[in-house]
């Protein structure tokens, strides 16, 4: 080793020592932050980064300047086994395999038994959730359900001015996901959005399921100027006066409309549940 190498090595050693010293100091700093200051996430993160960085620097310097660099050459061995090894393996395997193939009947019985117990082991999976049955076809809305807002207050004919919109639920079921309904007042007169819905929009009020028919996000943005409902998740857009038919985005179906009526006290009530399943599509929705 000549003198130059000596100087070089001393320099590197100093650098590494500084790196490790920085780690030690930063770790002490972490102790101060944690115990004296009672924690402070910017300082914690920074000091931890400095402490770890000091270590990392030291190790990389060691690897780069103080350790043998090679290059070393390692020969590859052949991966596939030799034909003798394969033959010996096959012969050893035959011991059991031959025994098995002479007892085909037992093997078949074992296969059936294994299948049966495997199937039985799957039964408990059914406990994970209830039978879907007709749950996706119903909501909590019933004939005569009182329309209430998110605070549970009843909604009357005077609650919204024309152009207003409000998220409503059936009384007693506030925040139930599949029953959320967006109530919009389009005018002062009764509104018919589609043939057959002559009585559904009393005094300009229309109610649509707020669950998007695409992927189920709440269709929360009402663009009053264009009378459109926009889903903020995937931008499906529904035209409110036309029965909430989709006019843009990935949704393929209209938002189901809730049949509404006004009772003797001037409060809004549902005429019935939705007449079709709300929310995104599924295999047997049409049945």
């Amino acid at each position: 080793m000549n003198e130059n190498d000596d100087v070089q090595e001393r320099k590197v050693t100093n650098r590494i020592a500084i790196g490790f010293a920085i780690t030690t100091v930063a770790s002490l700093g972490l102790a101060v932050v944690y115990f004296v200051l009672g924690g402070q996430e910017q300082l914690e993160g920074s000091l931890l980064a400095v402490a770890l960085g000091g270590l990392g620097y030291g190790f990389v310097q060691v690897a780069k300047y103080l350790l043998p660099q090679g290059p070393y050459v390692e020969e590859r061995e052949t991966l596939p086994s030799s034909s003798e090894d394969n033959a010996a393996f096959a012969a050893d395997f035959e011991r059991g395999e031959g025994w098995l193939s002479r007892r085909g009947f037992l093997v078949k019985m074992l296969g059936v038994a294994a299948g049966a117990i495997g199937l039985a082991a799957l039964f408990p999976i059914a406990s994970l959730g209830p039978n879907p049955d007709r749950q996706l076809f119903r909501t909590k809305w019933r004939r005569g359900s009182l329309v209430v807002d998110e605070q549970g207050e009843a909604v009357g004919v005077d609650t919204l001015s024309v152009g207003g919109a409000l998220t409503v639920f059936p009384q007693g079921h506030v925040d139930v996901e599949d029953s959320q309904t967006i109530l919009i007042r389009l005018s002062h007169d009764d509104v018919v959005t589609k043939p057959g819905r002559e009585l559904w929009g009393p005094q300009g009020y229309v109610g649509y399921s707020k669950v998007c028919t695409h992927a189920g996000c709440p269709v929360g943005l009402y663009q009053q100027q264009f009378k459109k409902l926009l889903c903020p998740c995937h931008q499906s857009t529904f035209s409110v006066p036309d029965g909430a038919e989709p006019v843009f985005g990935p949704a393929t179906r209209s938002l189901p409309q809730l049949p509404l009526m006004v009772d003797d006290e001037g409060l809004l009530r549902a005429r019935s549940d939705y007449t079709e399943p709300v929310g995104p599509g599924f295999w047997n929705r049409g049945t």
């Binding site: 944690y34 190790f59 879907p132 996000c217 995104p280 295999w283």
Partner: protein, 465 residues
């Protein structure tokens, strides 16, 4: 002295000296792109370390409680136990927030490192025989990493994560025949279900991490057995590996890398805010806001849901709803193609008849490189589409316009990118010979006609390196 006695004690019981010596001498070829996999490995270690700490405080409960902690704006608000415990970690547990943020950042980098590693393997042909098995394990690790990212993202039960779960539920029920049943089994009933948080918690902290650890072990064991690939170069042959030894040089280098990765995650976790759930608020089923974006590695699926046109199949009273195509079929085909790639390529190139330990330069494989770049461009457009509403408000144009442009771009940009890549590869390959291959013999290649009308051979001018 003590070390010597310790080593002897173990060797007398295990007889491991020879095996360990072979391991210590294992040779690692040196190239910067070989550290991408290590990067992913170390992110996983950081995730375990910070994740274990977080489990000591997190409650995966859906029971409603009223918040009384130290974050004033939410005091008195009713929320799930899960959300409340995340607020506690963030504001009332000393060092809790920095741990949570390091965990989140490490998760983002983890998936990024895996994808970068996958790209390195793909573009250099490192997946060819005999490494098809490890390629498939690697793709599985990517799927698991994304799954664990999504389940972890769902746990805080904030407004954003609830929206993500809502969309995931809708995608599951869109699966023909078994979709609704499957969704009810996962969520414990109709959305939101009472069980999903506790189940995702078990999946997130036990099932998937254990699966990742086991497959990671297999991934590394196969790597050791098959030895590393290496780029072509002097003395580097199909039959050898040239580089630094595991002990001590590579060990020191890789420990250094681990500390640097951890340092970067710590700096990000301390200084760069990530997922401030206290701003999103607790999950309410009837609320959502524009600008709801998932973590980056789910962005391509979000974009797929947004770009897919309003098509679905309805017949005989049954239907295959729209999200099935964009949310199930597209990722399904994506990962099927990834799994199948080594075999697909082998079928066309017939290269899988022998082993390959020397790596390709991407330019020498223009078709593969072009396909890879086109695929990346495709997913990049989908990723951008996942933020179409953000783009629309940034550039003050209608989201409909952006969406329609991106629908076209989804097919145009990958095509252009693929063709350009192909041309570029050809060009680059023509300019530089493959390293390690002998230079073309000088002379006899270039024929020049002289002024007098005769022909002479001239030697090629010397190449400047």
């Amino acid at each position: 002295m003590i070390v010597k006695r310790l080593v002897r004690w173990f060797d007398q019981r295990l007889g491991a000296a020879r095996f360990v010596r072979t391991a210590l001498n294992k040779v690692f070829p040196d190239h910067w792109s070989f550290m991408l996999g290590e990067l992913a490995l170390y992110c996983f270690v950081i995730l375990i370390l910070t994740g274990v700490y977080l489990t000591f405080f997190f409650t995966p409960g859906t029971k409603e409680v009223v918040y009384h902690g130290s974050y004033a704006p939410l005091r008195g608000v009713s929320m799930s136990q899960a959300y409340e415990s995340v607020l506690r970690i963030s504001f009332d547990v000393r060092a809790g927030l920095v741990m949570r943020q390091i965990h989140h950042w490490a998760a983002l980098i983890f998936v990024g490192a895996i994808i970068a590693h996958l790209m390195r393997i793909f573009f250099t042909g490192a997946f060819r025989r005999p490494r098809e098995l490890n390629w498939m394990i690697g793709v599985t690790l990517l799927v698991l990493a994304i799954a664990n990212g999504f389940t972890g993202y769902s746990l805080p039960d904030d407004q954003l994560s609830g929206t993500g779960l809502r969309i995931a539920y809708s995608v599951v029920i869109s699966v023909p025949v078994v979709g609704v049943w499957t969704a009810f089994l996962i969520f414990g009933g109709e959305f939101p279900g009472n069980e999903v948080l506790t189940r995702f918690f078990v999946i997130h902290i036990l099932i998937v991490p254990v699966a990742i650890a086991v497959l990671l072990g297999a991934h590394l064991a196969i790597l050791v057995r098959q030895k590393h690939t290496q780029f072509q170069g002097r003395a580097r042959k199909e039959r050898n590996v040239v580089g630094a030894r595991l002990w001590p040089t590579f060990t020191a280098k890789t420990i250094g890398l681990f500390f640097f990765v951890f340092a970067a995650c710590a700096a990000l976790g301390g200084l760069a805010q990530i997922n401030p759930v206290w701003i999103w608020g607790p999950f309410q089923p009837a609320a959502v806001s524009a600008g709801s974006q998932p973590d980056w590695y789910v962005g391509w699926l979000e974009g797929s849901l947004r770009l897919f046109p309003a098509w679905e199949i309805r017949a005989f009273g049954h239907e295959i709803p729209n999200p099935f195509f964009s949310g199930v079929l597209l990722p399904g085909i994506t990962f099927m193609l990834l799994y199948a790639w080594p075999f697909l390529e082998g079928r066309f190139t017939k290269e899988n008849r022998e082993e390959h330990h020397l790596l390709d330069r991407p330019r020498d494989r223009p078709v593969r490189t072009a396909i890879g770049v086109a695929a990346l461009a495709f997913y990049a457009v989908l990723f951008v589409a996942g933020g179409n509403d953000v783009l629309a408000s940034r550039f003050s144009v209608s989201v409909n316009l952006i969406t329609n442009i991106l629908r076209v771009a989804l097919f145009v940009i990958p095509t252009v990118a693929g063709v350009m890549t192909y041309r570029l590869c050809k060009e680059l390959a023509a300019r530089s010979p493959t390293p390690g291959e002998p230079e073309p013999p000088p002379g006899g290649e270039l024929v020049v006609r002289t002024e007098e009308g005769g022909y002479v051979d001239v030697e090629e001018p010397a190449r400047t390196p």
